[in-house]
Amino acid sequence: MTKALPTHAGDTLARSPDRVVGGRVVADDAPGEVPEAAPAVPLRALDQLWFQVSGTVCNLRCRHCFISCSPENHSFWFMTRAEVAEALRESVELGVKEYYFTGGEPFMNRDMLGILEDTLALGPATVLTNATVLPQRTVDALRELSESSSYTLELRVSIDGVNAEMNDAIRGEGSFQRAVAAVGRLSAAGFLPIITTMRTWDEADTDSILAAFRSLLADVGYDRPRLKILPPLHIGAEADRSRGYDDFERVTHDMMTEYPTELLLCSSARLVTASGVWVCPILLDDPSAKLGDTLGEAVEAPARLHAQACYTCWVNGAICSNVPGFTDHS
């Protein structure tokens, strides 16, 4: 007995009209100054290509957002389908393995479904969403996109508490009920969304919190949940909500001795925005983290671990990825 061998007759990128979604960006266009003394991380391979697809525009005003997204934050504007398509074309030559879409809220970009159609013709796509603007018609469209591609479409849904009181204190009133309902719709559509939550509790409570999450999600029909806990990043709105970084929380050259740099997202990823290419999604507010105007420029430039948020990645590894970075001991 044999299993049929599928033949891919060449992956072609769907052409898209040059339809402008939004206006112009306000962000600094030129790469900023990077402290020379900061440890450098070379790009070993461009495995992950991230898109700031809705800029810093979000329907929510989360109190822990490390880039302070909100309806009024237009520092970075929406990317058009054509802009994303151009980066996708470049990504083929570079051998990119995974595509991630973040914001802001990606589904506020009215081209998002078309962007995913283009992407899923090439490779796997992950969308980081607050799931508060995912009506049934959007979920149905996502299911169609997923079923028509051989690549996986992952939905990462942010929920920051196991009840409305806990979540809405961070993400805003009503956001808990809407997000949980959307998880139910996604689950019914065959998705296994990755529920992402920032750790705002004592670590000793983690087991009970995870158990409460499983119970909550089972109640909306999601009975084999994938859960991802993120550490807080003490920048942006989160610096006001909890604290900023302490002076010692900084990556030094000594700390990089024998450190497996492949654990860091910046060793294998870049972030494309409507106004240039940044080193990673976390340092979007930092002009010195801009590595170039084009992807070609940005893959030539090493990352610099100059920001204190880099300390969080040094401790925890590639927290932005669906799965952690792997150390290769061999």
Binding site: H8, E93, V96, K97, G123, S330
Partner: protein, 270 residues
């Protein structure tokens, strides 16, 4: 590929064995009946199943060439874990049970006297350059799932490592893809695993049979039936987790699910 690489017409390629000596013996018999020129194993010899050291005599007796897997690498170098990179506490719990008995004790496998260096061999399949590895040619513990591995990514690997046909395992689920154009056709084959079923509700395990001609290489995935109930009993007698036994008896994965992409996870039961 190096000029000294051997050339074969028909090769049986086994994925992770995970101590399943009964499936390995059945697969070797099946491959011999199909008159293969060579037997190749892409690593991960121990863990999961019972009595890991029963695998090595079979490999030696039948001259199976072995590529080092991440598990074998951990054993050989005395590392603390299998290098699968789990973060989920439940997955880590079962990964530790798979690697150590008792938890915190020495690794369950001894290495069986195999040579310390198990470098990936190149093997010519007819007239094509074939590169065999465990996870990926660039990283032993890299997962190449069908739903998360773009064709252009595979093409870059093939170019970077100078091969037309790429053979890997590590994920435990078999799949293959062809791409390219006339004159530059390429193929990736994930040969699956002999150690546990393919998370498809079937108790058979799988290997890949490669047939090379002067022009091309064909692949056939071969299901292997073996006495899985006897393996389950052996696992129970060794007091291995019942979750592992359940996988052998049902064909569904029950542990270490964190690293599965959505599509592959949704196709399973858990």
């Amino acid at each position: 590929m190096s000029e000294s690489a051997p050339t074969y017409r028909r090769v049986a390629v086994f994925g992770g064995i995970y101590s399943n000596h009964l499936a390995l013996a059945a697969a070797i018999d099946d491959a011999r009946e199909r008159r293969v020129d060579a037997l190749l194993c892409l690593g991960d010899l121990g863990a999961f199943g019972p009595n890991p050291d029963k695998v090595f005599p079979l490999l030696r007796e039948h001259d199976v060439q072995v590529v080092r897997g991440n598990y074998d690498d951990s054993i050989a170098r005395g590392l603390d874990d299998c290098q699968c990179g789990y973060t989920d506490p439940r997955d880590n719990h079962y990964a530790r049970l798979s690697y150590h008995t008792p938890p915190g004790g020495p690794p369950r496998e001894t290495g069986g006297g195999l040579p310390g260096s198990l470098d990936p061999p190149g093997s010519g399949g007819g007239g094509r350059d074939v590169l065999a590895f465990h996870g990926s040619p660039r990283q032993t513990n890299e997962f190449l799932w069908e739903s998360t591995t773009p064709t252009h990514f595979l093409d870059k690997l093939a170019t970077d490592f100078g091969a037309d046909v790429l053979l890997g395992t590590h994920t435990g689920i078999h799949w293959a893809r062809r791409w390219g154009r006339p004159g530059l056709e390429r193929m990736y084959v994930n040969v699956g695993a002999l150690g546990r079923p393919a998370n498809d509700g079937r108790t058979e395990v799988w290997y890949a049979l490669l047939d090379g001609s002067d022009e091309d290489v064909d692949v056939e995935f071969v299901p292997v039936s073996y006495d899985h109930r006897a393996l389950a009993e052996e696992m129970r007698s060794e007091e291995l987790p019942e979750e592992f036994v359940e996988t052998i008896l049902t064909g569904w994965w029950t542990t270490c699910l964190e690293i599965l992409p959505g599509k592959e996870r949704a196709a399973g039961r858990f």
